[in-house]
């Protein structure tokens, strides 16, 4: 498998065997009555990493975050932060701070008092508090709103107050619970970049919980994809997309076409996968799939080409069908092609020129092709 780097090329402590993890979840289980929210989960996160926990609601990601913050105690297992075992330490003694999904701004306090709240708990001298609060206000560009109450702020401003408040105490780790969930789309996109810039600038470890894969991919160095309290894959955004380890991850992140079949032949890294009625796919990146294994071949829509003319002989992986549906999105067009064996394949074609030289329309005969190394073979 090719190594796919992170966004920050130089930063990859998880590939360094000598690096010690900063946050360590060790066989952590959390039960609420009969419900197992987190199931024997282990996870390492490194210092200065921007780490995202991604999953659908109920996958255990928020519980994991709350256990690190100290609001829940694990039913079993241990959590370490910077070498310290956190078990039994109450939330108000933990060197982590959290930005709540609802922001949890104290409605009866001004912006200033909210940001200074944590410092006041540490009995910091008043002038130092004032200086730190001013610094934080400047950081989130809210200097002129210091005296306002939370209800006098817009949603985006509230979000920044919450951020400033949780950063004021210089936590070892900043926990962010759906930090952008309450913002509208445009503001969300802007804030994503602001958050990553801020994290780089401050050199802090960020642990973010989100259900939005785009958000996770834009911001995070690494993503852990969670399902039913278990980690399905931990990898960089590019790896989770290009090299998913299981059907679940392939389907969860982005859109995918899946062909279920079995390995009929194996030659080096290339496998032939038999599916349907005597049809085969040539697939590179077959991993350790052996002849006879039940596998799924996964290929992303943008890696499938669709054309109205039959490709020349000798091309790999050619299938024919007719155009079933077309969605024109401006920058690209999504084709749903119904193959002769009945299955529907999605293809995303970039509209790189204004005049479409190969106009395809509904019910047209169409051929789809893809390179053997464009997809991955999934054994799980």
């Amino acid at each position: 498998m090719k190594s796919l780097g992170s966004i920050r090329k130089s930063f990859a402590p998880w590939n360094d065997p000598a690096a010690t993890p900063y946050i360590r979840f060790e066989n952590v289980t959390k039960k609420f009555g009969d419900f197992v929210a987190v199931n024997d989960l282990s996870l390492d996160i490194y210092e200065r990493e921007f780490f995202a926990l991604l999953g659908a609601s109920g996958c255990g990601k928020t519980t994991l975050l709350r256990m690190l913050a100290g609001f829940e105690e694990p039913s079993a297992g241990q959590i370490f932060l910077d070498g310290q075992n956190l078990s039994g330490i109450p939330p108000y003694r933990r060197p982590v701070n959290m930005m709540f999904q609802s922001y949890a701004l104290f409605p009866h306090m001004t912006v200033e008092a909210n940001i200074g709240f944590g410092l006041k708990q540490d009995r910091m001298p008043r002038d130092q508090i004032a200086a730190r609060v001013a610094e934080m206000l400047k950081l989130v560009k809210l200097e002129q709103f210091a005296k306002r109450k939370p209800h006098q702020l817009s949603g985006g401003q509230r979000q920044r107050v919450a951020l400033a408040r949780s950063l004021a105490k210089r936590p070892k780790v900043l926990l962010l619970d759906e930090p952008l969930g309450a913002l509208d789309k445009k503001l969300r996109e802007e804030t994503q970049f602001e958050l990553t810039d801020l994290q780089q600038e401050l050199g802090l470890t960020f642990l973010v919980v989100t259900h939005d894969q785009e958000e996770a991919m834009t911001m995070a160095d690494r993503i852990a994809i969670l399902d039913k309290g278990k980690v399905m894959q931990v990898a960089t955004p590019a790896e989770t997309y290009e090299a998913p380890v299981s059907r679940f991850v392939a389907e969860f992140v982005g859109s995918v076409n899946l062909f279920d079949g079995s390995v009929s032949a194996r030659e080096g890294s290339v496998a032939s996968i038999a599916y349907g009625d005597g049809l085969t796919i040539a697939a590179d990146n077959a991993g350790d799939a052996a002849v006879g294994d039940q596998v799924a071949f996964a290929i992303r829509p943008e890696k499938v080409r669709v054309a109205s003319r039959k490709p020349e002989a000798g091309a790999d992986n050619v299938m024919s069908g007719e155009v079933w549906d077309i969605a024109y999105l401006g920058d690209m067009t999504i084709y749903h092609v119904k193959l002769d064996d009945g299955r529907v394949i999605k293809s995303a074609m970039l509209n790189s020129s204004r005049l479409v030289d190969d106009p395809l329309t509904w019910d047209d005969r169409a051929w789809i092709t893809f390179a053997p190394d464009a997809g991955v073979v999934l054994t799980r």
Partner: protein, 320 residues
């Protein structure tokens, strides 16, 4: 035609309760006010304005003077001990020398204030625990708080007589377990009145407190703890300030009716427990001095106007 019918219907919906409340709530106060300005001799029963009609009734009342308010003022001056020369002649000297209305007003306010505070002390932990209880238990707990409210006030006060009197159940229990050797004298004291008020008005305190505490976003407490606040300190810095609207509503709901309370001081209090509701009752039923009791009622209302307006504001704000 239909539209006209609808317009009429909506007028009727406003007009009927409006007219009812004007006639049975507002006008009675005007009458009380009028009578408070008339003399004892004129309106002392048996008087039968029914025979003379409404006009005569008001015509006679128009010969009003401030006699009753003068008496009340003398009562207050006598209580404070100044202005003897303002209270010469007629009854006013009596009121000046033996003030009892001011005593009753002030003691009512004091008893009401103390019991309101005690009710808050008892009610807050209950409301807090209810708001923290699992979601599934809350309707049942709420029901348990409301249920006594449906039971007769009189019965609930009466129930305490059997408990508090010298040979009552509380004393029996305490004597039997050897905690005391002499029966406690609680019945017919102010303590009994406090207990009665706290007991009777507890639901009025718990309900607004509960609704304020239940609305409280628990993540605020978590945020405070996350920022280094210990649980007790988080309570005083976050929970309590944010429950203040509930505290205010609950205190007013207890304080206002407690000031004018009659049944509790009458049944549980002693002869030395003076409360204005009791005084008004005896002035009206025993002394049959209608004008003076009307004046007493008007002054009581004036005293309560501030808390009542506060209460209405709070209600109106809660509506928005």
């Amino acid at each position: 035609m239909r539209r006209i019918f609808s317009a009429i219907a909506s007028r009727v919906v406003i007009a009927v309760p409006y007219a009812w409340l004007l006639f049975f709530f507002l006008i009675p106060f005007v009458i009380v006010f009028k009578i408070s300005l008339s003399d004892l001799a004129i309106s002392m029963p048996p008087y039968t304005p029914a025979l003379e009609g409404l006009r005569d009734f008001f015509a006679r009342l128009s010969e009003f003077d401030l006699e009753n308010y003068h008496l009340l003022m003398c009562d207050l001056l006598g209580y404070i001990g100044v202005g003897a020369d303002l209270c010469r002649g007629g009854f006013s000297t009596d009121f000046f020398e033996r003030p009892y209305l001011s005593v009753a007003y002030i003691s009512s306010l004091k008893i009401a204030a103390v019991s309101t505070f005690l009710t808050l002390l008892v009610g807050y932990p209950v409301a807090y625990a209810m708001a923290r209880a699992p979601q599934s238990m809350r309707p049942t707990l709420l029901m348990l708080v409301i249920l006594p409210f449906w039971t007769s006030f009189l019965i609930r006060v009466y129930a305490w007589i059997g408990i508090l009197k010298p040979e009552g159940l509380l004393n029996q229990l305490l004597l039997n377990i050897g905690l005391i050797s002499e029966p406690l004298v609680i019945m017919n004291t102010n303590t009994a009145v406090y207990i009665g008020i706290v007991y009777s008005y507890l639901p009025f305190m718990v309900l607004p407190l509960y609704s304020a505490l239940e609305k409280l976003d628990h993540s605020l407490i978590e945020a405070a703890q996350d920022l280094g606040c210990r649980p007790l300190s988080a309570f005083w810095k976050i929970t309590f300030p944010l429950s203040l609207p509930g505290v205010v509503a609950g205190c007013l709901l207890v304080f206002i009716p407690a000031v004018g309370e009659f049944v509790i001081p009458d049944l549980l209090g002693g002869s030395r427990t003076l409360m204005i509701g009791k005084t008004l009752w005896s002035e009206f039923f025993n002394n049959r001095d209608w004008p003076l009791s009307s004046a007493v009622a008007i002054v009581l209302l004036l005293i309560l106007v501030v808390p009542i307006v506060l209460f209405q504001r709070a209600q109106a704000r809660a509506q928005e």
